[in-house]
């Protein structure tokens, strides 16, 4: 059930934050509502609508498959009080829903099921098991889909299990598989880890989204063709089977070579590097379902993709291109502020509204609700922003929406570019690796008046380009709505003479932050040890297990932060009333943020831990402030500071 008190409090915080953020930040400006509205679809109190799948039937009713195994049909979802009917129930955590020819289809944990209401009473009376696959009984074995192929078959993706790391514990887990209506199964591609979102682009090619984790440096989108290997080696344990379209074994993947995934693809044919990366925390943290845009949000975005993010409760935008037969493109921010973790996107039958299905159970999201169903609509006004980025033999071609001011457009100083890559290794995620600032040698204005070519000093194939345009203005003098994107450069038109650069290849674990404000060993002059010992644990849902730490003024304190959660967290002690300011500064640290542990250079920061990987801990020693008062402690990982915080009450010691 929805916990109202929590949503109220967090809504207030979110509101305060939105008002506070006057100038451009990495999150949506208050201006989001000027173009796109998020409308809530009313959910009755007693229905736990943890959305796993969304599909409209042929009568305009919205089918919602929930993680509790139900399929609800919503009549008039746009009305104030839509009518809900329970169409089916008892399914084992379906995480996808589709509809055709009078039947719904869903992938449950262990089965692809077809449901039909034969007697027309509004409830399914036929549940057909089209195909059943093995499960090991691991809770992490989620199964997604189906997506219909043009031939009428069905695509399903299978998540890896989790045993402290991702593992393929049953047949074909970590694979994209195809199943016919008659129940014939063909394995297509592997290397998948958490393939919660997948489907076709306008051109009819299959893509899937991946989440940061072991072997996966950051969220990304990959084009899949039969026989492809997308990166996580666990699924390779099934390639010995006759039906497998690829034959490489798990041992073929060697991360001691220090290659990026892109470089590995040059060595091993089956490896398919991503087409678009979503840099972690800058472009979400857990990419999910996506849809193709036609013109319903303006002709400028026709053919692009809208991609959901579960952890940051937002939707991003992707512009793709194909160069030398290879997909690549840019990811852009779009709209955030959804109420829970965005998992599924589905256009309304009239294509005017985008339904957004959400759940955050088990994986905390910045949106505070445990589940939600909302609708994104456009008011007809196109925001002034980067429309698309395309690769160019000498750099990049950018096109803007609206009417940019040509002076700002042509000025190299309007732009900032940095390129970087990620490591490809068995560790969880990857820091931003080998970043370099690029110099813009010149800017060429194109005849259409809204496009430029940025000519760069150097292009590194296989790298990701952070492209910002903070100096561009429109005719009215306004800045761009978001004004940045991340371009994944796999191919350069005309081949490109610039070869991929060498990267360092050295292993690294947590980004350790050396700082005077983080003392990790017992100070020599603390005879008798610390006077106070504090242990704080993180909890799922962006929380610490305590909201109040009480310290004696001037006391010698030993503080340990344990992070059993599956996200990155830290603990920063700041001066009274400064948690918001410090949190926001941390959010603006951009690409260097992670390597600095998201600790801003600010005198408001008193003491801090390192940024902790999941299931690690950090112990720091410090002397409590002499001045009594209500200091604060907060997690400065981007987006967390709004809710993940508490009070450090420093009280006067005995005289």
């Amino acid at each position: 059930m929805v916990t109202r008190y929590f949503s109220l409090r967090s809504s207030v915080l979110l509101l305060l934050f939105l008002c506070f953020a006057g100038t451009a930040t990495l999150l949506a400006q208050p201006g989001a509502a000027a173009y796109y509205a998020i409308e809530e679809v009313n959910i009755p109190e007693e229905i736990v609508l943890e959305v796993g799948g969304l599909a409209f039937d042929d009568e305009g009713k919205l089918g919602v498959a929930t993680r509790r195994g139900e399929i609800w049909l919503i009549e008039n979802p746009y009305a104030d009080n839509p009518r809900y009917t329970r169409y089916a129930h008892g399914l084992h955590e379906p995480l996808g829903l589709n509809y055709r020819n009078g039947s719904f289809y869903c992938a449950q944990r262990g089965e692809l099921t077809k449901l039909t209401d034969k007697d027309g009473d509004g409830k399914a009376d036929s549940y057909e098991a089209i195909y059943s696959w093995d499960l090991s009984g691991n809770y992490h074995e989620y199964s997604y889909g189906p997506v219909f192929t043009p031939e009428g078959d069905m695509l399903v993706t299978l998540n890896l299990g989790w045993i402290g790391r991702g593992a393929s514990l049953a047949e074909w887990r970590g694979w994209l598989i195809k199943i016919t209506e008659d129940g014939e199964m063909t394995p297509i591609a592997t290397g998948l880890r958490s393939p919660a979102g997948f489907g076709y682009n306008r051109a009819g090619d299959i893509f899937y989204t991946e989440n940061q984790g072991d072997w996966v440096g950051s969220g990304r989108m990959t084009h899949l063709e039969p026989g492809d290997f997308a990166g996580n080696p666990e699924g390779l344990r099934w390639t010995y089977r006759e039906e497998s379209p690829l034959k490489i074994q798990p041992e073929a993947i060697d991360d001691t070579k220090g290659l990026t995934l892109y470089e590995y693809a040059r060595e091993l044919d089956a490896v398919k590097p991503p087409s678009v990366w979503f840099p972690h925390t800058l472009m979400g943290i857990s990419t999910s379902g996506f849809v193709v845009l036609d013109e319903q949000f303006g002709p400028e975005f026709d053919g692009q993709l809208l991609v959901g993010d579960q952890g940051h409760s937002k939707i991003m935008r992707v512009a793709q291109e194909k160069v030398n037969g290879v997909y690549q493109g840019a990811s852009f921010p779009f709209v955030d502020g959804f109420s829970s973790g965005v998992l599924r996107l589905e256009w309304s039958p009239d294509k005017e509204a985008l339904y957004v299905g959400m759940t955050s159970r088990g994986w905390s999201s910045t949106g505070p609700e445990p589940y939600a169903l909302e609708r994104l609509v456009w008011n007809g006004k196109t925001p002034f922003d980067i429309q698309s980025i395309r690769s160019h033999p000498e750099g990049f071609e950018l096109t803007f929406t609206g009417a940019p001011n040509p002076v700002t457009l042509a000025d190299p100083a309007s732009y900032e570019l940095t390129d970087f890559t990620y490591k490809y290794h068995h560790f969880y995620g990857s820091p931003v690796t080998d970043p370099e600032t690029r110099t813009i040698d010149k800017v060429t204005l194109l005849p259409d008046g809204k496009s430029v070519v940025l000519h760069l000093d150097r292009l590194r194939k296989g790298y990701i380009y952070e492209i910002k345009a903070p100096g561009v203005r429109n005719a009215a003098g306004e800045p761009l709505w978001h004004g940045f994107g991340y371009f994944t450069l796999n191919e350069i038109p005309g081949g490109g003479q610039m070869a991929a650069a060498e990267n360092t290849g050295a292993e690294s674990e947590t980004a350790v932050t050396a700082s005077a404000k983080r003392q990790t060993t017992l100070p020599d002059d603390w005879a008798g040890g610390p006077e106070q010992e504090v242990i704080v644990n993180t909890e799922p849902g962006l929380k610490y297990d305590t909201r109040l730490i009480t310290l004696k003024a001037g006391a010698r304190v030993k503080l340990t932060l344990n992070n059993p959660d599956d996200m990155l967290h830290n603990l920063v002690i700041v001066k009274p009333g400064t948690a918001d300011a410090v949190g926001e500064t941390a959010m603006q640290m951009g690409l260097q943020g992670e390597s600095k542990g998201y600790i801003p250079d600010s005198e408001n920061v008193l003491f801090h831990t390192a940024l902790l990987q999941p299931e690690t801990s950090d112990t720091i020693y410090f002397t409590a402030p002499e001045e009594p008062g209500n200091y604060q402690f907060v997690c400065t990982f981007p987006g967390h500071h709004l809710v993940m915080r508490g009070v450090v009450r420093v009280v006067a010691g005995e005289s």
Binding site: V48, G69, H89, S126, S132, N138, L522, D566, T616
Partner: protein, 621 residues
């Protein structure tokens, strides 16, 4: 005993963590506990001489519809009581006990009554409580009340303990009882300083009581005083009853002692994932200590390693099991031999080793390391007449989140839930449970069309499925559930000697299920060329689970196996007792069933040959 408390709290710990720690891991061949002592029922020599209402038989059966019905056949292994008005002694063991664990099976005929009195003084009531809606202390598994004759009417009975729920089976079925009992304690002057206690009472797999203190003997005890040791007593003057598989462990006050404990403390640079080579490390500190608690031996808890040594004194010779829980890794050595290897970077998890120790002193060495965060070290042991207990050490402290319980209640129509379900200790991954508003519920394995278990009353607890990420995704019945022997609903048998398959045959597949007018699922299976329809519903009186099976396009020799057990015996009124686990009644038999022996078991088979043949039967438990 301690071990169960520990496992219980560890289960909570494991449930709070994301990593799957599914329970104690055993070194190959090492048992989880030392064996119980069986009480021989070849004759009555384990008991004090007693009147002839007690005897020994080969088998017991009972017609659950007839009061006090108990049918026996010659032989040994089953203890039988058939009292008359004149002859109705209670039965006492010839040995005495203090702390003990007891397991036994009992068969309670309709309307009958008995009890097990620990030390002849503290009774766990045995009763025909079948279908009692609100059990009392005098119902099956209750801790019987105490009695003060001197009080006025209505106030004489006190301190009876009601079982947590009614876990009783139908009369005439074998029921399983487990009791962990702790005797009262006395000081040197003979004054009682601690009450007797039932640490745990489990009936048919359901825990009824935990940590219940008894201030004195319960009503109708054989003795009115309290002492340190007493005989086990079984009540014989209230009605017929049968027992089998009686086994026990008695505990005395001996324990292992670890003396002269010394520690060596090392610090490691950088992360470690297994026990270091101590020879290459510089000793930071060493000294004497009084336990295996390491936290106070240094300020630092991360990237540390310890060696503990000492002298272990065993009070008697015998087999000892040692379980070492540690986060991270550890190893235990006795007299230079490594008996437990729990090395590696992991959560607070156990490994067990077994060793035969002579009486006297032994060299003890325990190595341990912690990389970071979670830490803890605990050594437990079980020895001859020594229950599971710690050998100095401490559980790590972790706050345990309180989970709100999520239940499924079928209100107006049946509710289906597909989930993982446990069956005979294994996880069934493609299971469905169906709860009916009439209160009869069941779980099936969809891959084999096999009935897994059924229960009566409230439906299901699904908290573990729908709380946070849902680990371990199990649906738990809210009542005592009887597990049936699972097998595919239908199989092709080439002849009457062919073995009925247990696993899913190649030609067997779930097609799906249709929902009928009563909103019940009717399962459909592809079995060779046939389609087999399988449907469950509650009986009209809401007491039995009725199953109907029929086939279309059946090939020759298609059979369904309705029951399998040690025996399948008619007990009267059309019921068969299936190995004493549950009753089966044929409702519309399509011909005569075939009862045959196969693989040392008795099976009840029916052919599924034409679509007109519906095999219909019901189960009662």
């Amino acid at each position: 005993m301690m071990k169960y408390l520990l496992l219980f709290s560890l289960a909570l710990l494991a449930a709070c963590q994301d990593q799957a720690a599914s329970g104690p891991e055993e070194e190959a061949g090492v048992p989880g506990e030392l064996p119980y002592q069986p009480l021989s029922l070849d004759d009555l020599s384990a008991f004090r001489p007693v009147a002839k209402n007690w005897s020994v038989a080969g088998r017991a059966l009972s017609d659950h519809t007839r009061e006090h019905d108990l049918q026996t056949s010659e032989g040994a292994g089953v203890l039988v009581n058939q009292p008359t008005d004149e002859v109705r002694d209670n039965l006492f063991t010839s040995w005495e006990h203090g702390d003990m664990e007891l397991q036994l099976d009992f068969m309670m005929p309709k309307g009958s009554n008995s009890g097990v009195y620990f030390m002849g003084r503290y009774e766990i009531q045995l009763f025909d409580s079948w279908q009692v809606a609100e059990p009392k202390h005098s119902d099956a598994g209750g801790i019987y009340q105490r009695w003060d004759e001197s009080k006025s009417e209505g106030e004489r009975g006190f301190e009876g303990h009601v079982p947590r729920l009614n876990a009783a089976k139908a009369p005439g079925l074998w029921q399983q009882l487990y009791v962990s009992f702790r005797a009262p304690r006395f000081d040197e002057a003979g004054n009682k300083i601690e009450n007797a206690r039932f640490e745990k009472v489990v009936l048919n797999g359901v825990t009824l009581h935990e940590e219940v203190e008894l201030t004195g003997p319960t009503r109708a005890a054989a003795f009115s005083d309290e002492v340190a040791q007493g005989p086990l007593m079984i009540q014989g003057d209230h009605g017929p009853v049968a027992f089998r598989n009686i086994r026990y462990k008695r505990y005395f006050d001996e324990r292992l002692v670890l003396d002269n404990i010394r520690y060596q403390y090392y610090e490691i640079d950088g992360p470690i994932t297994q026990l270091p080579d101590f020879d290459t490390l510089e000793l930071v500190r060493e000294g004497e200590t009084d336990s295996l608690v390491f936290e106070k031996l240094s300020e630092r808890d991360e990237r540390v390693a310890y060696i503990f040594t000492g002298t272990l004194r065993a009070p008697k010779e015998g087999d000892y099991l040692f379980t070492v829980y540690s986060d991270d890794g550890s190893q235990l050595f006795l007299n230079g031999d490594r008996i437990v290897d729990n090395d590696g970077k992991h959560d607070f998890e156990p490994m067990t080793g077994k060793i035969h120790l002579s009486e006297g002193k032994h060299d003890f060495k325990l190595t341990y390391f912690n990389n970071n965060w979670g830490k803890g070290l605990l050594v437990q042991y079980e020895g001859p007449q020594m229950p599971w207990q710690p050998l100095y050490g401490r559980l790590p402290e972790r706050a345990q989140a309180d989970r709100p319980a999520t239940l499924v209640e079928p209100k107006e129509a049946p509710e289906m839930v597909r989930s993982f379900v446990m069956h005979q200790g294994e996880k069934i991954t493609h299971a469905m449970s169906v709860g009916d508003p009439k209160g009869i519920h069941y779980s099936v394995d969809l891959r084999r069309g096999a009935l897994l278990k059924c229960w009566r009353g409230d439906f299901a607890d699904v908290t573990e499925m729908w709380y946070q990420r849902g680990q371990p995704q199990l649906l738990e019945p809210l009542e005592m559930a009887v597990e049936t022997e699972d097998a595919p609903v239908a199989a092709v048998l080439s002849d009457m000697n062919a073995v009925f398959p247990e696993e899913q045959p190649d030609y067997f597949k779930l097609q799906g299920y249709d929902i009928n007018e009563a909103e019940e699922p009717v399962f459909k299976y592809q079995v060779d060329a046939a389609t087999v329809f399988d449907h469950y519903q509650p009986s009209d009186d809401g007491r039995e689970l009725v199953r109907s099976i029929r086939a279309e396009n059946a090939p020759a020799n298609l059979y369904t196996r309705l029951a399998v057990g040690d025996y399948v015996e008619a007990v009267g009124n059309g019921y068969y007792s299936v190995g004493g686990k549950y009753y089966l009644r044929l409702q519309s038999p399509a011909g005569e069933p075939t009862i045959r022996r196969s693989m040392d078991q008795t099976e009840l088979l029916f052919p599924l040959t034409t679509s007109a043949n519906e095999v219909k039967y019901s189960i009662l438990w």
